[in-house]
């Protein structure tokens, strides 16, 4: 795996997630995420009924990310490895990215209606932020930088059923293919086409 061509992706397998919440808790713990902010959260539909399905939604680090397109101050940007970062020192907290994002990934600290509500926070793919890797500032603003340590994102590492798979696009695609073959049909890759569209975008 040549580092230059690595392209990070998430695979959310809607047929495997058991809503154990491990990813959520591990993320918060790893990145010391403030209260009320969930960089990844599990959504359940049809709870308690046939067809009950769970999906864990982090930031998908979309190719051609819509949030990057709309951010007025270019606080959002895509790294060469596909990870979408926010620069918390330029973000003006307008919330525009939240409306562009199909996954509702951007998070904002809760505050009073009049006061400043601070800047946007979202999943960093556990890759820190624009600051010096492993610096105190990076840790404080963005949390850990596991990618720089050569580790996978925390949420995917702890996933009890491997419903959440992270890593280089090619490796992830292998898992997707293997599951598709095993199941005969339906890879359960929720949001995949939206985050990583095959066709060009406008």
């Amino acid at each position: 795996m040549a580092l230059t061509t690595a392209r990070m992706k998430f695979y959310i397998d809607a047929k495997r997630c058991i809503e154990c919440g491990g990813c959520e808790v591990a993320c918060k713990n790893e990145n010391n995420v403030p209260q009320g902010i969930a960089r990844i959260r599990v959504v359940t539909v049809n709870e308690g009924q046939p067809g009950e399905t769970n999906i864990a939604v982090p930031c998908m680090h979309c190719s051609k990310a819509p949030c990057v397109a709309v951010c007025p101050v270019d606080a959002l940007y895509t790294r060469p490895d596909g990870i979408v970062h926010v620069n918390k020192e330029t973000c003006i907290g307008c919330g525009y990215c939240l409306y562009a994002c199909p996954f509702g990934a951007p998070q904002f600290p809760k505050g009073e209606p009049f006061g400043a509500r601070g800047v946007m926070d979202k999943c960093t793919y556990c890759a820190g932020g624009p600051d010096e890797p492993f610096s105190e500032k990076e840790r404080r603003f963005y949390g850990s930088n596991r990618i720089a340590e050569g580790k996978l994102p925390m949420c995917a590492s702890v996933c009890s059923t491997k419903a959440l798979v992270a890593g280089d696009a090619e490796e992830v695609a292998k898992v997707v293919r293997a599951r598709a073959v095993a199941r005969g049909s339906g890879v359960g890759a929720w949001g995949w086409e939206t985050a990583y569209p095959t066709g060009p975008r406008l």
Binding site: A14, K15, V43, V45, N46, G51, T53, I55, V57, K64, P66, C67, A69, V70, C71, P72, V73, D74, T90, C91, I92, G93, C94, G95, Y96, L98, Y99, A100, C101, P102, F103, G104, F108, P109, P113, F114, A116, R117, G118, V119, M120, R183, G184, S185, G186, V187, G188, A189, W190, G191, T194, P200, R201, L202
Partner: protein, 330 residues
């Protein structure tokens, strides 16, 4: 096949506080009033036939855009960075950036117009400002719509908020901006007329009241246009894809239905229209003065315009469902 379910992933940011709906409302209205000021000026000819109306429109544009701008600024998580937008805003594909510059162009024009009227500096400079004001006014009203739907356009045909459809929302906001602008001018004109005897300034604005009836009639035409546009939009949604159908359902039958039917359809459209008819009947046929009815109508248009923004902002949280892959029995 798993039935598609809407998954509301967004936890409200814009809808939860009043800043954004008020900004969209005030911004659109300011656009409307400035256009009215310019048109009244231009159509008034050399005799400055509609000078009272033009003045009123120009004067009220200022506070409206100021309050609106403050609302916009203070919805930001970091207002201090937002105010310095020319330094910070670098992404010219973003409607927020474009909007920043539209406001930046609009505001001096609005100030200039008011100042020119106030000091009566002769017609020529005012006409230049007037001609510039028309695109600026239309621009700001349209922009409030693009701000919402632009997230769609910019993200490359991705349509996550089906309600925020670029084909409908900007024009809708433009029409509504005109309608509310007319109502605001009419309201102020009536009020001024009410107090016309009380001083020099009022004197200069004298006769404004007579225009109120005309403004009301024009507004009624605009309201018909607005109603038709909303109808077109809903018809398209009703026949559209899953996301649009979902929006249609929530708007007409779901959680937003009371707001939509009472707030938008009744307050902004149907009741003002009715009020107009009754007013014409009273004044023209029965020859009874009916200023009070105009007050009521204008107030309803304003309230309806505001609620329209709320409904549209709230409705933006309805996301097009990301389909689940088909469920097969293994």
């Amino acid at each position: 096949m798993q039935p598609m379910e809407p998954i509301v992933l967004v936890t409200s940011k814009w809808g939860a506080s009043f800043n954004i709906p008020w900004y969209l409302f005030l911004g659109g209205m300011a656009g409307g009033t400035l256009v009215i000021a310019a048109l009244a000026d231009l159509l008034g000819g050399k005799r400055e036939q509609y000078q009272a109306l033009s003045r009123i429109a120009a004067y009220i544009t200022l506070p409206i855009i100021i309050v609106g701008g403050l609302a916009l600024t203070f919805h930001l998580g970091k207002p201090e960075r937002g105010i310095l937008f020319p330094i910070f805003m670098s992404n010219y594909r973003s409607w927020l950036t474009i909007g920043g510059w539209i406001i930046a162009a609009f505001f001096p024009l609005a100030v200039a117009y008011a100042v020119l009227w106030y000091f009566r500096t002769g017609r020529a400079p005012r006409l230049i400002v007037a001609i510039l004001s028309i695109p600026a006014g239309i621009g700001i009203a349209l922009y409030t719509g693009f701000l919402l739907s632009g997230s769609w356009q910019l993200s490359g045909g991705y349509w996550f908020s089906p309600l925020w459809d670029t084909r409908y929302i900007p024009v809708l906001f433009l029409i509504s901006g005109l309608s509310t602008g007319l109502a605001a001018c009419g309201l102020v004109a009536l009020a001024v007329d009410h107090f016309r005897h009380s001083g020099v300034v009022w004197g200069e604005l004298g006769g404004a009241g007579e225009t109120a009836g005309t403004l009301s009639l024009i507004d009624t035409l605009v309201i018909i246009a607005e109603a038709s546009w909303i109808y077109l939009m809903l018809a398209a949604f009703a026949a559209g894809d899953v996301g649009q159908k979902l929006v249609y359902g929530i708007l007409t039958k779901g959680d937003l239905a009371p707001w939509f039917w009472w707030g938008v359809v009744a307050l902004a459209l149907a009741l003002p229209f009715l009020a107009s008819l009754v007013e014409v009947l009273l004044v023209k046929v029965l020859r009874v003065p009916a200023d009070w009815l105009l007050y009521v109508k204008f107030l309803m248009v304003l309230a309806g315009g505001l609620l329209l923004r709320y409904v549209i902002v709230w409705g933006g949280e309805i996301r097009k469902p990301l389909p689940f892959p088909p469920f097969n029995v293994y």
